[in-house]
């Protein structure tokens, strides 16, 4: 029987990153994935014969450090592409486009404002950068080393100068809506700039207190908040991580669902010593690392009886109901959006901030938005292998689709909603309906079941101040270690959170090795 140093539960991208770092230090690593392929929410699968897609359709700020450390270039990830243009669609074709540093389709005044705005936000986002590739200090821990990130934040704030510092403190807790109103006139531009900060969380432009912070936070890895698709598609990233894993002797077993984490009662207390796979097989290892979300890890795989009571209660309280649904359309040709030559990019259907806000409002009361807002990508333009030749895949993140519906999520509800979404897209791409070969809608409940993430949540747990930094997923487990010796977390539920960044996996590996 092989003796493993580390067994990792789940083969999401974070698990793969973590495994690769551990293997670089000569660890013998086994990764167990319940589904038939690696990649988690970023894995590609066939949703209609001949048509493939992945739930995560772009890569937002994948860490450049990880890219270099793991030499992913050697494994086929030829340079990460430039940020995708982000297009706020207009029915008549008068779109607003943000491409790199330049914004078009707006007045000169908005253009100048945007230049100022992006300089400011870049400086501020930079402030939060020290928190990324690092373990956050534990509450009550006064070790100098761990407090350094805070010291760095302090120093960086001082270096901003008095005016900037005041401005930072003012806007960091502002609702995005107010910040946009201060700077811009064009409703499409405002909606566009909000979007990438909000997506995936239970926030809308008017949400008080931390929507600007979340936006800055996501910008802080040097991507200005824009997304990218690697050459050859998102799946290239997963392929590269798997290829690197293979070359380092990491074993990845798919169709291997972990049923429970095995614990051993030792003199010093409980210790995680292995896992049991669904077929009954027991596998032991020095370290058990879970990339499953914290609720699944602690409440399902470990069990409350092996944990402390207050800790369990904090895990139970983690807010993790997802608010994003996925629409996938198999198309017999490239969709034509009015006034757009190229449908390559992140295409937003969100005419203004008020529409975003209303959609959010309805979701609060368990209703699907009457006037849905969404982000569309045609991934097959970057990765032709996703569809038969000449055909395409449309992938859309539909925001503010409730996990818990006032009425049930049943087939009728799903079909009605798909129809509503297609009607909406039709307003911008009038011929879309005739192009549809097949469609699929994944509600947060579907995402939860298929990808085994509590609530089907984008970030494995709400992305808000009460669940960030040393509170992510909760104190007692915010440093990747858990109250159980030998058990670590490495997924999106840990600091710094979700998106295809690889950072939780990177930081977890660092903790395991230290």
């Amino acid at each position: 029987m092989t003796q493993y140093d580390t067994v990792i539960i789940g083969a999401g991208h974070n698990a793969l990153v973590c495994a690769n770092y551990l293997a670089q230090k000569k660890q013998k690593v086994l990764v167990l994935e319940a589904s038939s392929a690696a990649g988690g929410l970023a894995s590609s699968y066939e949703f209609h014969p001949g048509f493939r897609t992945s739930v995560a359709h772009t890569v937002s700020h994948f860490s450049r450090k990880i890219y270099r450390d793991l030499e992913l270039q050697k494994h086929g990830l030829t340079a990460m592409a430039n940020p995708l243009p982000c297009v706020a669609l207009n029915r008549q074709g008068n779109h607003v486009v943000l491409d790199g540093d330049t914004v078009s389709g707006v007045t000169e005044k908005d253009r100048v404002s945007y230049a100022n705005y992006s300089k400011l936000t870049e400086r501020f986002a930079n402030l939060l950068a020290p928190f990324w590739l690092k373990t956050v200090p534990a509450i009550g821990n006064n070790s100098l080393h761990e407090l350094l990130s805070f010291a760095q934040l302090g120093v960086k704030m001082r270096m901003l100068g008095k005016d900037d510092m005041r401005e930072f403190l003012r806007i960091v807790s502002l609702p995005t809506h107010d910040l946009m109103d201060e700077y811009f006139d064009h409703p499409l531009l405002k909606a566009l700039l909000c979007w990438n900060g909000l997506i995936g969380s239970k926030q809308a432009p008017r949400s008080p207190n931390n929507s600007v912070m979340l936006m800055l936070y996501r910008m802080s890895e040097g991507m200005s908040g824009l997304h990218e698709i690697p050459n050859g598609g998102t799946s290239r990233l997963i392929d590269a991580l798997c290829s690197s894993a293979k070359s380092q002797g990491i074993e990845i077993r798919t169709n291997s669902s972990v049923r429970r984490i095995v614990v051993d009662q030792q003199k010093e207390g409980l210790r995680a010593t292995g896992v049991q796979v669904d077929n009954g097989e027991l596998i032991s290892a020095q370290n058990i690392v879970s990339s499953a979300d914290p609720k699944t890890t602690f409440l399902t795989l470990l069990g409350a009886e092996n944990l402390e009571i207050e800790f369990t209660n904090r895990i139970r309280r983690i807010r993790s109901e997802g608010l994003v649904a996925k629409l996938h359309l198999a198309l017999n040709g490239l969709p034509q959006f009015t006034g757009l030559d190229q449908s390559d990019g992140q295409l937003l259907i969100s005419p203004d901030m008020a529409t975003i806000e209303s959609a959010f409002d309805e979701s609060k009361y368990g209703q699907c938005p009457t006037d849905p807002v969404m982000e569309i990508v045609i991934p097959s333009m970057r990765d032709p292998s996703l569809a038969p030749s000449g055909q395409h895949v449309l992938s859309a993140h539909v925001m503010y689709v409730p996990y818990k519906m006032k009425s049930q999520w049943d087939q009728t509800a799903i079909d009605t909603f798909i129809d509503k979404l297609i009607n909406k897209i039709e307003l911008y791409a009038p011929t879309i309906r005739e192009q549809i070969v097949a469609s699929e809608l994944l509600t947060p409940i579907d995402l939860e079941q298929r990808f085994r993430t509590s609530g089907g949540h984008w970030h494995h747990g709400e992305f808000a101040l009460d669940q960030l930094f040393m509170m992510r997923p909760t104190y007692g487990a915010a440093q990747y270690q858990t109250p159980l010796r030998g058990l670590y977390l490495c997924g999106a539920g840990s600091h710094p959170g979700g998106d295809i960044t690889g950072v939780p996996g990177h930081n977890a590996a660092h903790e395991i090795l230290s």
Binding site: Q265, K267, E268, G269, L270, L299, G303, A304, E305, N306, E308, I309, E310, F311, T312, N313, R316, G476, P483
Partner: protein, 397 residues
Amino acid sequence: MSDYDFSSERPKPSHFQQRQDELNIHDAWSSWNGYKFAEYFYDVEFEYFCVRNTCGTYDICPMQKYHITGADAEKMLDRMVTRDVTKIRTNRASYVVWCNDEGRLIDDGTIFKLGDDHFILNCGSPCSAWLDKSAFGFHDITIDDKTDDVAAMALQGPTSCAVLKSMGLENIESAKPFSINFFDFQNARLMVSRTGFTGDLGYELWIDHNLAIPLWDAVYKAGHDLGIHPYGDQATNMLRLEAGFIMPGYEFNEALKTVHFEHDQTPFELNLGWLVDFKKPHFNGRRALFDEKKRGPRYTLTKLDIEGNKPAEGSFLYSNKRCTEEIGYVTSGMWSPAAKANIALAMIETKYLEGEIWSEIYYEKELRQYSKVARCTIKHEPFWSPARTRATPAADF
């Protein structure tokens, strides 16, 4: 001015209120968990002597009584408390404590095991929120707060067994300490446990609240010639201190109600290490308690015999007579009639236990304040622990 008239804060009557009202000649009431509750009835010392010499009854209706049932009840309790619940036999009671995640004491109480899937947890403060949290993750479990449905009284003192015998509780004398026994009382089930909080021979009686007054009357009728009297909170405090039992608000501050860091206590600090079982499966606070056991507790609750007769209540303790180095504080102190000694429980920094201990006692004489410094001697045995407390069969006296 607000319209709030505080009426909702009026203590509710105990199930024995009718009888206690007649006996509480000073109307000396306070409240416990929202129930009207006697500070004393006629005279504290008199009530104390009743319990030590004959017997007394004490109202424990306000004590919280949770019935925990289901196949997972034992597992859930075992994870919550520090003692091994699987070792409690059916119809036996066990003294337990439970801690928060950091190993700080939340409360103490007794667990009664009535069957493999039926337990009762009795404790001084409401803890249903904690029980709910503790039960999360266990599936076959029901927690029922029966506090308002059960009437309960403690019957304590040397003649207590005789009273129950004369009430007709057959064979009660052979009931062992911590045993739970059942009798028929007016066609209902009367539960009698040989438990109590006085360190003396004694029992606790539990019955449906509708039978509270008939039970009271039956006990008092049987006890008429055996010196039975009610006793209140103040006498209880004397009795338990002689027995060396801890009391919230004196020896410990419930961890869930403590604001300041480490102003609560651990079982080791309270000298209750014998209740912490590291051999049983995982329980709450284990990690912290294991570390503390290795490190040794910072404080240790200690029994003191103090020279002189001035009660040392609230006094500071020092390592020398000049009182230059503070090493702890007295948590409860009194002149003990039974031990004929000036006794106290005190929290003392463990590292000073080997050396001298001096207490600076403050007292008042006709409005004048005085202080004196008295030498303290550590006692390892309870101040009061007569053989009759444990003897089975229990004698009549």
